[in-house]
């Protein structure tokens, strides 16, 4: 018995040193897209002013998602031109658009919602498409890359600050960040906190989306790698395969839910922060 457990731990240690790469390779960005049995596509290396801006796997999937999104929405526009009554796919998209408009943007931003709606709708639909594309085998999730989510968060940051500045004016907005009539000593503490919070908000947005998407994929891959871990034991596979497949199915289902929820949360929080910048409470 003791011998058996030690061998298991040994093999886990042995294989994990190899398997680690295998999991990371699927989650991490790379300069090649591998369709393993069919071969790999090597992406070109581009340098601009000494900075490496080569196109990576995640950028390719970002473009794929964008193109899919554009074509789907153009189809929706076309179907609206045909008749005012939505049907089928148009109806689904309309429900999502109305949900974003009435449940996310209108309650948080209020009467200025019309100017920010296109941005928030784009964010919502892009994140949903990216998340769902990541669930397709052989593809990868651009939202599991901190650079992508970070960029989206930078746009959120710009939108939040721009919303506040356009509403209140440059000086008035930054004055409004600090509560009025506080004593000097408290102000010394509060001002840095308030300034920091402006950066922490989008930072949290980026980390939340990135971590959720990455965690889901790693969990899925770990469950599947159990099969390869137990490969060397006779009959162990027979017990492990159904369990790990069932669990990975469960995780995939969960990922579909997470894909929707994370898009909702990212849009909701961005919208909420814009609303907070527009309606400064202090």
């Amino acid at each position: 018995m003791n011998n058996f457990t030690t061998t298991i731990s040994d093999t886990i240690q042995k294989t994990s040193s190899n398997q680690n790469d295998w999991i990371y390779r699927h989650v991490l960005d790379s300069k090649e897209i591998s369709f393993e049995p069919m071969g790999t596509i090597h992406l070109p290396q581009i340098n601009l002013f000494g900075i490496d801006i080569s196109i990576t796997k995640h950028v390719i999937y970002l473009w794929v998602a964008s193109i899919i999104l554009i074509f789907l929405l153009l189809y929706v526009v076309k179907s609206y031109k045909r008749s005012q009554i939505p049907k089928g796919f148009t109806n689904l998209i309309e429900i999502i658009i109305i949900f974003v408009r009435d449940e996310i943007v209108k309650p948080t931003i209020g009467k200025y919602y019309k100017r920010l709606l296109p941005y928030l709708l784009t964010v919502f639909f892009l994140i949903i498409t990216l998340n769902i594309i990541g669930l397709i085998p052989y593809s990868s999730t651009p939202t599991a890359n901190i650079s992508v989510t970070g960029t989206l968060a930078i746009f959120s940051f710009i939108a939040i600050q721009a919303g506040g500045i356009i509403k209140h004016g440059f000086v008035q907005y930054f004055k409004g960040l600090v509560p009025k009539g506080v004593n000097l000593f408290i102000a010394i503490i509060i001002i840095p906190i308030e300034i920091l919070s402006q950066f922490i908000k989008p930072f949290a947005l980026a980390i939340r989306l990135f971590a959720n998407m990455t965690a889901g994929h790693i969990a899925l891959l770990v469950l599947l790698s159990l099969i390869f871990l137990f490969k060397q034991y006779l009959f162990a596979e027979i017990f492990v395969i159904p369990i790990s497949v069932l669990f990975s199915l469960f995780i995939t289902m969960l990922e579909i839910l997470v894909a929707l929820i994370q898009a909702y949360i990212f849009t909701m929080l961005t919208s909420l922060f814009i609303g907070l910048a527009i309606y400064q409470e202090h």
Binding site: I55, V59, V77, Q84, I93, P118
Partner: protein, 185 residues
């Protein structure tokens, strides 16, 4: 600014592990993501969100308008129904009034006619009475004359031979006067 924070974090994490980490910041990816996102935003805003939101709004306005119109039409119909109801009520009361008036008038007329006929009959009766009285008196005087004549004639026949006509008329008239006086009593 956030990118700076991220990169700083990435540098820290990278120092800890030499291999490519999960929290690596890739400026190439940031660059392409920014460009893609901005282009996507512009394209979708112009070609997708604007027409979609517009048609949604149009439809919502249309529905709102239709509902409002329906409400208005309903109100109008109710108003019309009320007016017609009132009219019907008015007509009913008017008809009732007219009927009542007619009844009253006819009652009056009836009464008047009855009164008139009563009066007329009374008058006629009275006239008839007067006439009868008159006739009676006439008849009486005629009878009186006739009786007198007859009496005279018969008396003449009886007394012709014995008496002078003139002397006896006087006596007989005296008798008749007495008789008429008795009759009048």
């Amino acid at each position: 600014m956030i990118a700076a924070i991220f990169s700083y974090l990435a540098v820290i994490l990278q120092e800890e592990e030499s291999t490519t980490g999960i929290l690596d910041i890739n400026f190439g990816v940031i660059f392409w993501t920014s460009i893609t996102f901005i282009l996507l935003l512009i394209v979708l805003k112009k070609f997708a969100w604007k027409p979609i939101l517009k048609s949604l709004e149009n439809r919502e306005d249309f529905i709102k308008d239709s509902l409002e119109k329906a409400e208005k039409a309903k109100e109008e119909a109710e108003k019309l129904a009320n007016i017609s109801n009132e009219k019907i009520k008015n007509v009913e009361t008017e008809a009732k009034e007219i009927i009542a008036q007619g009844r009253e008038y006819s009652e009056k007329l009836k009464k008047q006619i009855l009164d008139d006929t009563k009066n007329e009959t009374k008058k006629m009766l009275e006239d008839a009475k007067i006439e009868i009285e008159k006739l009676k008196i006439d008849a009486y005087t005629q009878m009186k004359d006739q009786i007198a004549l007859l009496a005279i004639e018969s008396a003449e026949k009886v007394i012709k031979e014995k008496l002078d006509k003139e002397a006896h008329t006087q006596i007989i008239n005296k008798y008749i006067k007495n008789m008429s006086g008795k009759l009048n009593e």
